[in-house]
């Protein structure tokens, strides 16, 4: 059986999909989580194997975005591999009127189908009682109540599906032929489509699921019969709502209309024009305080573990270049990534809690109100907020924006929002240059600065959008239609899964790149032109003899000379003149270069370079960075001026190859990613330069 799951956004579709197929996947609350097709398999009670496709959430079969077009094309294209022979249409029982529009449309497509009501617990809280038998009788299809989160109703759904083949409704709820006989006849004949509603949708929606008639032909046919697409669509929607009103009158009982729901009462506070922002910023402050204060102990443990492993590897492995590679290249590089696991877990744990509880949709709502003042439309809010996790899915989420210019602006500004890859860079620099003092007696200054960096990224994105709006001159027609899911107690399992997935993606995704770069970097840092190295070593030894250095002093000076005359040292010194005005030495320069692969590579790179320069390897990466000085002045390298300059550079620069790639793919040209890369990197250079020169 080829089964399709169709429904409005935020109706528990993903939860039901997970429950049926066993596929673990994130369940979010705001639009844009289900963006493309997902497929899973399960078995019916009669042992029949079902291929289940989870289609993107949509409000009707008249598409207003690329995602919604996918739904229509899948349901109409009989030659497509995903064309279903049975459909489960999901309806949120607490929001029946709106959901039934799509339900009645899908029924009219003539598929064998089952209607699954979700959110019945919410409906009961709203004192709504659904008469399943009456609904089944009037719609002519089986209906069940399910709960993807608890598993309730799954057996009933599977049984209904096993019997669904014979339950397709024969007559149409809305029959376009009643008014447009000649048009439908001509259309049906041209498309070879016996179902009048399918023919109607193909004729009016102007998507191209069938090659039988060209889009031009369909358009001409509508014109010949004096049919205006939008008007016909509105007329159909009004007619359907009349039918739905009648249906609900006889099948849904509302037992108490007076009492305002708890969700409404909470919303009055959380979406309040002042209190909403106060609460949001208080929550942000809590998250960033927690990132610093709760992660200290586990981070120290991970650091200690890697220091011990490094020492152990030097003791156990036979001395030689391979042992050096492990102790100075691979282990410090990996430690640079793994040490941030606690912070990543805490950040995403909080984000998952906010999503699971339903609060994230309220954040989008209050932000939408704020951003309209800056000339941004509501649909840009979701990508900008989800960009705080990663810019790549955020840029893909812009597909829901109808107008191209508005979508382009959102794509261009999204990389300014602070993604999770910036977190390791920010935290290590903040920990180095910002004192861990208390503010107002209960807030940590480091946490406040981290929060300020997140706010700074968001302000940058909004400001850039204002500028782009003026330059590109977009006509803003888009608006945000936002689902406000009821508040729910977050499920520990879902929060835990999100934390696990994000940590895994950080370790596996970034870890492999960092491991590869660490190996290459170690080789480049350990070897250099022999003649140059010998010359540098002789100079150091002569100086040591003249000044009577101790053996430890000599070893350190030789290590530093070797590093400086290594291949990486030579490359670094070539770029040093360009970055020196920003307060960076060649080691930071190399880290900046490798960061263009991905920002978090910064820490791994620094860790490897410092490990090669310090063969004894007895200090943590933070301690080594903290002790480093400018050779010319003897002043600390990572002081406040360099730290702020680096923070600003990482906030502004476009240092992510994957983002460049996704922008190229979404804009289908190299023009925009190259402009974005050049503008962001130039801004990063100029702003960091000004900051360093002013502070130092």
């Amino acid at each position: 059986m080829n089964l399709a799951l169709v429904g409005n956004p935020n109706t528990g579709k993903s939860s039901l999909f997970n429950r049926l197929t066993g596929l673990n996947q994130k369940v979010g609350n705001y639009p844009g989580v289900t963006v493309d097709k997902k497929i899973g398999y399960f078995k019916l009670p009669n042992k029949e194997r079902v291929r289940l496709i989870d289609l993107p959430g949509c409000y009707s079969l008249y598409p207003s975005s690329q995602d919604e077009e996918v739904v229509l094309q899948t349901l109409l294209n009989q030659d497509g591999e995903d064309f279903p022979n049975t459909v489960v249409v999901i309806a949120d029982a607490s929001n029946l009127k709106r959901n039934m529009l799509l339900v009645t449309q899908v029924i009219d497509l003539g598929f064998p189908m089952v209607l699954a009501f979700t959110m019945n617990d919410e409906a009961q809280k709203k004192h709504l009682k659904i008469d399943l038998e009456a609904i089944e009788r009037q719609l002519g299809i089986p209906a069940v109540v399910v709960n993807g989160r608890s598993g309730e109703g799954m057996n009933e759904l599977r049984s209904a599906l096993a019997n669904a083949k014979v339950t397709a409704r024969e007559s149409l709820i809305f029959n376009p032929k009643e008014e447009h006989v000649a048009y439908i006849d001509q259309l049906a004949a041209g498309l070879n489509e016996p179902n009048a509603y399918k023919a109607w949708l193909q004729g009016l929606s102007l998507v191209e699921p069938s090659k039988k008639l060209s889009l031009q032909h369909l358009s001409d046919l509508a014109k010949d019969h004096d049919l205006h697409r939008k008007r016909a669509q509105v007329k159909e929607t009004i007619r359907r709502y009349e039918i739905i009103d009648e249906l609900l009158k006889s099948s849904v009982e509302e037992t108490d209309t007076a009492s305002a729901s708890l969700t409404d009462r909470i919303d009055a506070i959380l979406t309040h024009k002042i209190m909403g922002f106060v609460i949001f910023f208080a929550l942000l402050a809590l998250v960033f305080q927690a990132i610093f204060s709760w992660s200290t102990w586990p981070m120290e443990m991970i650091e200690l573990l890697f220091e011990e492993l490094s020492l152990l590897s030097q003791e156990v492995l036979p001395s030689g270049p391979l042992a050096d590679l492990v102790a100075q290249g691979i282990l410090p590089g990996l430690a640079g990534v793994l040490v941030f696991i606690p912070q990543i877990a805490i950040l995403f744990g909080f984000i998952a809690l906010l999503e699971e509880s339903g609060y994230m949709s309220r954040v989008v709502f209050i932000m939408d109100k704020l951003m309209r003042r800056f000339g941004l439309s509501g649909k840009s809010v979701v990508p900008l907020i989800s960009g705080m996790a990663c810019a790549i899915p955020a840029i893909m989420a812009t597909r829901t924006i109808d107008t191209w210019k508005e979508r382009l602006i959102t794509i261009l500004v999204t990389p300014f929002t602070t993604c999770s890859a910036r977190l390791p860079v920010y935290t290590i620099i903040i920990a180095l240059v910002i004192p861990s003092t208390e503010v107002f007696g209960f807030l940590n200054l480091q946490g406040l600065v981290l929060m300020a960096m997140y706010v700074f990224g968001f302000v940058l994105a909004v400001s850039a959008a204002v500028v782009f709006n003026k330059v590109i001159k977009t006509k803003r027609t888009g608006f945000l239609m936002l689902e406000m899911p009821p508040y729910r107690l977050p499920q520990a399992r879902n929060v835990g899964l999100t934390m696990y997935e994000k940590v895994k993606s950080f370790v596996v995704g970034a870890g492999k790149i960092i491991l590869a770069i660490s190996i290459v970097l170690w080789a480049l840092a350990s070897y250099g032109p022999p003649a140059k190295r010998a010359e540098a070593r002789t100079a150091v030894q002569q100086q040591a003899a003249a000044q009577e250095w101790t053996q430890v002093e000599l070893d350190h000076a030789l290590g530093a000379a070797d590093l400086k005359t290594s291949y990486i040292g030579i490359i670094g010194q070539q770029i040093e003149p360009v970055i020196a005005p920003l307060g960076y030495d060649w080691k930071i320069g190399i880290a900046l270069l490798t960061s263009f692969a991905a920002r978090e590579v910064f820490v791994g790179t620094i860790a490897t370079i410092y490990a090669v320069g310090d063969p004894e390897n007895e200090y943590s990466i933070k301690e080594k960075m903290s002790a480093d000085v400018y050779p010319s002045t003897g002043k600390p390298l990572f002081d406040l001026a360099t730290g702020i300059s680096l923070l600003l550079f990482y906030a502004l620069a476009m240092q992510c190859m994957s983002t460049v790639a996704v922008v190229k793919r979404e804009t289908k040209t190299w023009k925009w990613p190259l402009i974005q890369f050049a503008v962001m990197t130039a801004m990063a250079y100029v702003v960091s330069l000004i900051a360093y020169q002013l502070i130092s």
């Binding site: 398999y41 893909m396 993606s505 492999k512 770069i517 994957s658």
Partner: protein
């Protein structure tokens, strides 16, 4: 010692090869990035899982 240098050369070549493949995948994969993680790829790739 020579064997150690050969192993290191192989490791460096593998690392460079991996980085090159990763870069190519970033520009050609459907997910838009080469990540094997769950962030974007999973939501955009066709996930096919059999429920045993």
């Amino acid at each position: 010692m020579i064997i150690q240098y050969i192993i290191i050369a192989l490791l460096v070549a593998t690392a460079l090869g991996y980085l090159a493949v990763r870069l190519r995948k970033a520009f050609t994969s459907k997910a838009g990035c080469a990540s094997d993680c769950g962030c974007a790829g999973k939501e955009f790739r066709e996930a096919s899982i059999s429920n045993k």
